[in-house]
Symmetry: C2
Subunit: 294 residues, 2 copies
């Protein structure tokens, strides 16, 4: 049994130290870099990097080696938050307990800060990683791009935007949650699983675990938006309903959403067990996601 | 002597054929894909892909092998146009002779279409390329990311936004043009130069050529914005002055800008000659950029 609270804190501290001073310029675009760092250094849970670290560590990979990849993943997450918060999207003013990027830097710079972080993520993931063959690193980049792009997160966001305020169906919710949220969380596990030299079956099991964790995470997030407070969340509570977002509770209620999250987590657990992967890290992360909903 | 007009037309046709149907989905994000394809398939000069192809072809690389990289570069260019045209940026309504993306699809989908194209570019460039070692391909991705990102195009765009409407200096113009425009054109040559197995000196010479071509291209573009017509340009003419953009003509006049463009092109030519690289393709592309300004 590991103390997951301390472990997450440890991952966060390591990541923070790595990110500190990573993005700097001696050119004229100082305001842009300030905006990028403003969102990147904001106090977040850092779930995706921690998940990547936990996956790699499960197979004995040294933490320092995965930090650039973990940072790349967090940059993608951060860029998506900046763009999501823009007036033409969700128009939100609070994120991670601080004013959103465009509130501080204006819309144009916020838009570019997002573009900058998205692009920098790939620069980072393309830097040679010791002991990882270049072919496998290309695979990491393909995964990051496909999970984050139009076939993944961006696609989910687009359907979310189109359906917001409208009727929608449970199928729409499933698509949105799978793509908007689960795909990038899944990528964290998938990329982490490419540091050790695992066989295809193990990689697939981990991918299933990641997808399930991501889906459950968004289900719990839906629940929290209803039952949580703004100060607890670090973002505006009750926004989903106010904006007419499609969420699980809207279609199946809070209790059933909680149950579905548990069932989904169990599916991921099952995939790992069938493959003989026993990881206290990955198991604890599942519990942590679920416990938030209660 | 080659007929550069026909060569560019040939490159354009090959690229168009490759792009056709490349981005499609069987998921729910059909509108997003429509928006991405709307801008990607619009009739453009395709200068960057052609430059990449011309560079590779100079060293006997087969055209088919470079198409994915050329397409990736065009996706980056397209995403930057979509984001630049947004109301919070240049707020333009005409691009490549058609209504801008957000005019047709709305701001939210346009923003996401840009994000999608940017991300897809890296997915494409990370697909294994026959006969190119994976290490060298990682280098291509690093170049694309650093030339397109906050240290390159996005940084130039950010400083452009900040200085627009203000006083600015010639140093600002130089920074903006180098980063906003030249860096991605330079990347086209640099990535093209990684298909053959060239030594470092040749790669550096080609990089210098690409930077010079990119700078001259933007100088000529500044001139065209003053002396050209909207129908010729496929975008709104006279916009730079109306918006208070920093341009070369504003600081040194039209004639001096033309002269500086010629001098810059000569610098690139010189770099190639010193290295013994004689390419009718690359020479003709230089002439083509200059001839537009007269």
């Amino acid at each position: 049994m590991i103390d997951m609270g301390s472990y997450l804190e440890f991952c966060k501290t390591e990541l923070q130290a790595y990110l500190q001073g990573l993005l700097h310029t001696d050119g004229l675009a100082t305001r842009l870099y300030e905006a990028m760092n403003y969102s990147l250094m904001a106090d977040g849970k850092r779930l995706r990097p921690a998940l990547l670290m936990a996956t790699a560590q499960t197979f004995g990979v040294e933490l320092q080696r995965v930090l650039p990849a973990a940072a790349a993943l967090e940059m993608i997450h951060c860029y998506s938050l900046i763009h999501d918060d823009l007036p033409c999207m969700d128009d939100d003013s609070l994120r991670r307990g601080q004013p959103t990027n465009h509130v501080v830097f204006g819309e144009a710079i916020a838009l570019l800060a997002g573009d900058g972080l998205l692009t920098e993520a790939f620069a980072l993931l393309a830097r040679p990683i010791p002991e990882v063959p270049a072919e496998r690193q290309l695979r990491m980049i393909q995964i990051l791009a496909s999970r984050a792009g139009a076939d993944g997160m961006v696609g989910g966001q687009a359907v979310d935007v189109e359906r917001t305020g409208g009727q929608g169906t449970l199928t729409d919710v499933q698509f949105i949650h799978l793509h908007k949220t689960a795909r990038l969380i899944q990528a964290a596990v998938e990329i982490g699983s490419l540091f050790p030299d695992l066989d295809e079956k193990a990689q697939e099991a981990l991918s299933t675990y990641g997808e399930a964790l991501g889906l459950a995470f968004q289900m719990v997030d839906d629940v929290l938006d209803v039952v949580g407070s703004t100060s607890e969340l670090g973002k505006t509570a009750g926004k989903d309903e106010a904006e007419g977002k499609l969420t699980y509770p809207r279609f199946i209620g809070i209790e059933e959403t909680r149950r579905l999250a548990e069932e989904t987590i169990a599916r991921g657990q099952e995939a790992l067990h069938r493959c003989g992967i026993h990881s206290p890290y990955l198991a604890e992360l599942q519990s942590l996601v679920l416990v938030r909903s209660h």
